[in-house]
Subunit: 355 residues, 2 copies
Amino acid sequence: MKTYGVIMAGGGGTRFWPLSTKAEPKQFLNLSGKDILVNETIDRQAGLIDKDDIFIVTNESQASLMLERTEGRVLADHVLAEPAARNTAACIGYAAVEILEKYGDGVMCVFAADHHIREEAAYLRVMREAVKTAEETDALVTIGIRPVFASTGYGYIKHSPLEGKSYHRVEEFVEKPDAQTARAYLESGCYAWNSGMFVWKASTILRWYEKLLPDVAACLDSIRAALGTKREREVIRQVYPTIPRISVDYGIMERAHGVLMLEGDFGWSDVGSWDTLETVRARDAQGNITSGDTLLLDSKNCVVYAKHKLIAAVGMEDVVVVEGDNAILVCPVKEAQRVKQVVETLEKEGRTDRL
Amino acid sequence: MKTYGVIMAGGGGTRFWPLSTKAEPKQFLNLSGKDILVNETIDRQAGLIDKDDIFIVTNESQASLMLERTEGRVLADHVLAEPAARNTAACIGYAAVEILEKYGDGVMCVFAADHHIREEAAYLRVMREAVKTAEETDALVTIGIRPVFASTGYGYIKHSPLEGKSYHRVEEFVEKPDAQTARAYLESGCYAWNSGMFVWKASTILRWYEKLLPDVAACLDSIRAALGTKREREVIRQVYPTIPRISVDYGIMERAHGVLMLEGDFGWSDVGSWDTLETVRARDAQGNITSGDTLLLDSKNCVVYAKHKLIAAVGMEDVVVVEGDNAILVCPVKEAQRVKQVVETLEKEGRTDRL
């Protein structure tokens, strides 16, 4: 059976403002200093998925930029353009009908465009096992990440081992916990981080849509009927914006039976904000993480990203300084999440030129 | 007797880097939010000096920019272009021979282009008295500023009152003191800040040059002989770079006899660096001083100058954040003087594109 990759690249990515913007969302950032996140995501599949079998689902307004930035990594007609953002159930469903209708059933590996994985060999081993599991069991398979600290920033999957199997049974999906609960999860050993990576047959996930999300499934049926016809784009533009907005986690994963989980331990991170940047980029001897033209004197544990100008920091500690095209952010590392407040304020004030 | 203004505008001004640069030195900065420093300096003389009697001495490379930025405030032939920077004795001597040769003797009021004065009426009162004193006594007159705190950043003038006179006798010029000495100066009441403002007749200062700086005087004589002839510029370009580099303070003021001082108390500041900015610009309710497009959330006592981009500061206290054309500076307010180190480092590394 064929293996497909489906990369969800719909994120707005204000958490890395002002480097990430509406025009230049997180998946296009080169946070690691090696390549932009979406290209790292594509390249990481080598050996698991043929590059001509990788699809990217992104907003229609970003489809041409996506093709440009991925520099020939993906076939032009494999960039699936969403006329509207309708959450992950719509996104995955669209990819599933496209695959099933035009290329034939196969195992879909679904991942975000903007996550980081440190140990690629370990990642590929787990993914191969996940593909095999999805193919053999016809189950919905997800990748749970063995927690490395008591994160309150991720959802968790409660799981239990299955005698003699490489995969675990999913007991329950749970929301982001408070700090105490997160510590208990970490100690228990039977909770994994919900990475949002899924592996299943295109036909299988669509059967679950029919069962659990019939309204979504009906929309997908309309789209599927038009695929490959002259009216394809027209119908997608008509129907897509009417697909109920629901996440695949909430609509399917938390409600489906027999969901399986492969446990991964390969340095995964969703690179959520400036304060978690060290997961993708090493600190220097002073604990600083820098990019672009920077000059740091007596500065420690700072994150300094210069895009066009030189950023000079003198005597600074634990601060984030980031220059984007239209704005500069300065804040303590531990308050980096508050970039959201800045973005919200600018939105409220209609200062979209800075976003 | 005529009163002339001589504005010394030769400063490099790296202390306000990255807003001030070699191409855009401090006198061209609008730090107050009202106008650029050199224009504030010119406009402040209204009522004391006729605007057509104001001269600006500046580097040849900046003469046209000076004319442009002063927007008609100064006559084109009153911008005196120095072919090389040779310190203040040369600068003042050049202005003195120009005045004496082309316009006739008069009282020269000499000031820097980039200082700030809060109380202009009080300033004018003192200056009028100084002009009168210089005219009547034929002495070298300087303005000493009554100290408002124990500054270690200024040189001091030790002075003593003269029975029944508005002016004091200068006892001694002293270097920048340490903190303890500065406190003693402040308490004694007989030390004033050396503001670098001088008032004297053109003929008087030139006589002192002949006596105390004969090498400088000889160069000035050569220049004076060429003034108004076709060879004027040629001779200035030839002679000027050979004038001994010496300051008027060191070469004349510290060595001349009978120097007089008028005491000024009019909110004078040389606006030395980012940490003294509150002398020219009010803090807001949170103690921040901002310019340009800024967005401050939970930030206190910061100095934030945005030139082109938005600067967003979240949860910051007591920091300077400045965006210039080519660079961005971030440092604690109390370490703002260390901008010099940054500039020196860039110079050493030949990164002149950032200076």
